[in-house]
């Protein structure tokens, strides 16, 4: 029963409701042998009640029998006996969790709080049903993929809602996180839902990168030209890859604050005492504390320790650890006037999207943590001030900002989530229009409180049980989703659920290919949707 009856072959009936509960799911007795093998975990199902239509998802399949002694009874029976018993004494049921209710002629889908009656007919959801639930492509929705076995149907994601909360893309290595993230970033960019700041650890979002299968995926800069600025920490690496970058990032030692060191404590092996000493040092030397401290010779250190009332051994160890920072090519003794951080901020303010490439530093987690944290902290301050000022003066609030971080568990593990700015952003920055897009393969390493703030979760295949548990924490119907999640294919499939989606959905992610480029309106790849090459505030947001 489709919404407008345009389905060519009519709705495909799979069976009827014979029992179940709202929490556990409806038991739908499958009608035919074909239905038994066609219906899969994750398949969308509509159930036609008398007054409402219910939209649900198959979460489990069960072979059942009305005769508990059947197994012994059929010993020695031939195929005819099997034929006689299938669908009569022996039957299959699908567990269908009702997710949404659609009232005839009423408003859009609502969360299901009631159930269809016994014997209500269950059908495979049609394209129209899916469109009614997930919306169709428009100014706010991007096409992100297709439901399983419904290759012609498009599941769309409401980007406006998506960027209102922090979001997560999880999955083990090689499961397609990067492609999904590219699609999300490009969608956000193209629809102007928010401004992106990407901490591009493996240099794969800004400029072209080659996937594991050898496919060259275009970066945002190639797709959107000057609307995207690529900053690099490693100009040599960027040049080698033939990437076009806009700015080389140089960070002055005087820009590093003790808070930044606190985040690095575990990677630099700095003790709590050492972190405390940093604050003392800052009080003593002021803004340029780090360089001053590193400039002390071993002998000077003893007298410094004396005068500060610190242990010379602690300071010595701290100096050794912190001196690692001097090896980073992007660190400079003194920041130039237009510091890189300032540049990033200005670009963001001008509604330009920023991708920060780490190049050769991508493998150095210390560099990644340091830079990401340092820049984000300034942004935090800036956005907070701008939002408060906008509120006070009744001006429109700044365009939402989405900060993409990879290896997020390093920033958000329970030990440091309290200190890093990312923990704060995940918890409260929604109010200040800054949210995170967390890309990670170890969600179990992320602080539970932060994870609970992740609005929309996009989960590719995960192997580790703890990761699966973590990612499903707090999700309604977690037990059923677990079954769905464990059946995901290793590539290009993901389970999405949370704030921006009306219900959980298993999606075959759309391909990141020429067709996608064309959709994004890239010159030379078909019709352009917008003027990608002439960006300005009014163009994008006017």
């Amino acid at each position: 029963m489709t919404t407008n009856g345009t389905e060519p072959d009519g709705p495909v009936r799979i069976g009827a409701v014979v029992g179940g509960s709202l929490s556990r799911g409806l038991d739908v007795r499958l009608e035919s042998a074909q239905a038994v093998e066609d219906v899969k975990v994750g398949t969308f199902v509509t159930v036609q009640g008398k007054f409402n239509r219910f939209f649900g998802i198959v979460t489990d399949l069960l072979l059942d029998s009305s005769d508990p002694r059947m197994a012994s009874a059929i010993a020695g029976g031939g195929p005819a006996l099997a034929e006689a018993l299938s669908g009569t004494t022996a039957y299959s049921t699908a567990s269908v969790t009702p997710m949404l209710t659609m009232q005839a002629g009423g408003e859009g889908p609502q969360p299901a709080r009631s159930m269809p009656p016994h014997f209500a007919n269950a059908y495979r959801a049609s394209n129209d049903d899916v469109a009614a639930v997930f919306g169709s492509e428009d100014a706010r929705h991007i096409w992100i993929g297709s439901p399983l076995d419904m290759e012609d149907t498009r599941v769309c994601l409401n980007l406006e809602e998506f960027v209102k909360r922090s979001n997560g893309v999880f999955g083990k290595s090689g499961s397609g996180k990067s492609f999904l993230t590219r699609i999300l970033l490009a969608g956000i960019l193209q629809r102007g839902a928010a401004i992106n700041l990407v901490f591009d650890m493996h240099s794969e979002y800004g400029w072209q990168s080659t996937s594991e299968s050898g496919y060259a995926a275009k970066g945002l800069k190639q797709l959107f030209g000057s609307r995207v600025s690529v900053f690099t920490l490693d100009p040599a690496s960027s040049r080698r890859r033939g990437a076009s970058t806009d700015y080389d990032v140089v960070i002055g030692f005087d820009e590093i604050e003790p808070d930044d060191i606190a985040v690095l404590a575990s990677t630099l092996h700095v003790t709590d005492l050492g972190v405390q000493s940093c604050y003392t040092l800052e009080r003593r030397f002021g803004r340029n504390w780090l360089l001053e401290f590193l400039g002390h010779s071993q002998e000077d250190l003893a007298s410094l320790a004396d005068s500060m009332g610190e242990n010379a051994g602690t300071l010595g160890a701290l100096r050794r650890r912190l001196s690692q920072l001097q090896r980073f090519g992007f660190m400079s003794e003194r920041s130039t006037g237009g510091s890189a951080v300032r540049q990033v901020l200005e670009h963001l303010q001008d509604n330009r999207h920023v991708v920060l490439e780490f190049g050769g530093f991508g493998d150095n987690i210390t560099a990644y943590l340091l830079v990401a944290n340092l820049i984000t902290r300034r942004i935090h301050t800036e956005y907070r001030e701008r939002t408060e000022a906008a509120l006070a003066e009744g001006r429109p609030q700044p365009t939402p900002l989405v900060i993409t971080i990879e290896e997020a568990h390093r920033f958000l593990d329970p030990g440091v989530a309290g200190q890093t700015i990312f923990g704060t952003i995940a918890r409260e920055m929604r109010k200040y229009r800054v949210t995170l897009l967390v890309v990670d393969q170890r969600p179990s390493g992320i602080d539970g409180e932060v994870l609970s703030q992740v609005g929309t979760r996009i989960v590719c295949q995960l192997d580790n049980d703890r990761d699966v548990d973590a990612v499903l924490t707090g999700a309604p119907g977690a037990r059923e989703l677990r079954t769905v999640l464990s059946r995901l294919e290793s590539q290009q499939q993901s389970l999405m659920f949370g704030h921006a989606l009306p219900m959980p959905v298993v999606v075959r992610t759309r391909a990141y290919d020429e067709a996608f480029y064309a959709d994004m309106g890239v010159p030379g790849h078909g019709a352009a949707l917008g003027t990608a090459s002439t960006p300005s505030r009014s163009d994008l947001f006017g």
């Binding site: 009305s66 059947m70 012994s72 009874a73 005819a80 006996l81 034929e83 006689a84 004494t89 022996a90």
Partner: protein
């Protein structure tokens, strides 16, 4: 256990011609006792009963399945005595004692499985039992196909109090199957109907199916 064969052959003994309104096949007996669910008929010739499981038309509108055949003395008070002590073969007994044809009778018992009304077949009990002396006819192939197209009648056999109900049911299916173009499909469909009526007793279904010529 009989092999499947046309229901008509054993009862095609001599007998008076049928009325035009009745089936093309000859009558083999008539009703001597009747209730809505069970009928007892007496055959017009000794040993003239159709085999177990044969679909029988009672008069013009009632259908029943042969669930038992018995032969005994016509007068229950006078027991049959052995007569073959001096004779060489069983047929000599009948040749020497032509009166036996008159002193013995063959009875059939029938389970009512449905009726016909205005050209439609109903696989449930008729509103009234047949009248005594209503003629009995073994159904033709066309009648078997028309009546057994659906398998709901099996419920009436399964529900009968007969200890031999399962054998009767299997016999009825065996008798009917050859009348269909695809006997196996007919049997499987009927067995599915039986399975639906025995949801908690797959063993009984399996036992019934073991009596059927179906793999």
């Amino acid at each position: 256990m009989s092999t499947a064969q046309p229901a008509s052959s054993p009862s095609a003994a001599a007998g008076p011609a049928l009325t035009a309104a009745e089936s093309g096949l000859p009558k083999f007996g008539e009703v001597v006792e009747a209730s809505v669910d069970r009928v007892v008929g007496q055959c017009h010739t000794l040993y003239g009963a159709p085999p177990l499981g044969t679909l029988v038309r009672v008069g013009s509108s009632l259908f029943a399945v042969v669930d038992g055949v018995s032969t005994a003395a016509l007068d229950p008070g006078r027991r049959v005595i052995a007569r073959g002590a001096e004779l060489a073969s069983e047929s000599d007994v009948y040749a020497e004692n032509p009166q036996l044809e008159r002193l013995l009778r063959t009875d059939v018992t029938l389970t009512v499985v449905g009726h016909e009304e205005g050209g439609r077949f109903f696989q449930h009990l008729p509103p009234l039992p047949p009248r005594i002396h209503t003629f009995l006819y073994a159904c033709s192939g066309a009648e078997v196909r028309a009546f057994m197209e659906r398998s709901d009648w099996t419920a009436l056999v399964l529900a009968s109090a007969l200890p031999t109900a399962d054998d009767v049911l299997a016999a009825a299916l065996r008798e009917a199957a050859p009348e269909f173009d695809d006997p196996r499909a007919f049997l499987v469909q009927a067995c599915r109907a039986i399975a639906a009526q025995l949801p908690t007793d797959a063993a009984r279904l399996a036992a019934i199916m073991r009596r059927l010529p179906v793999e």
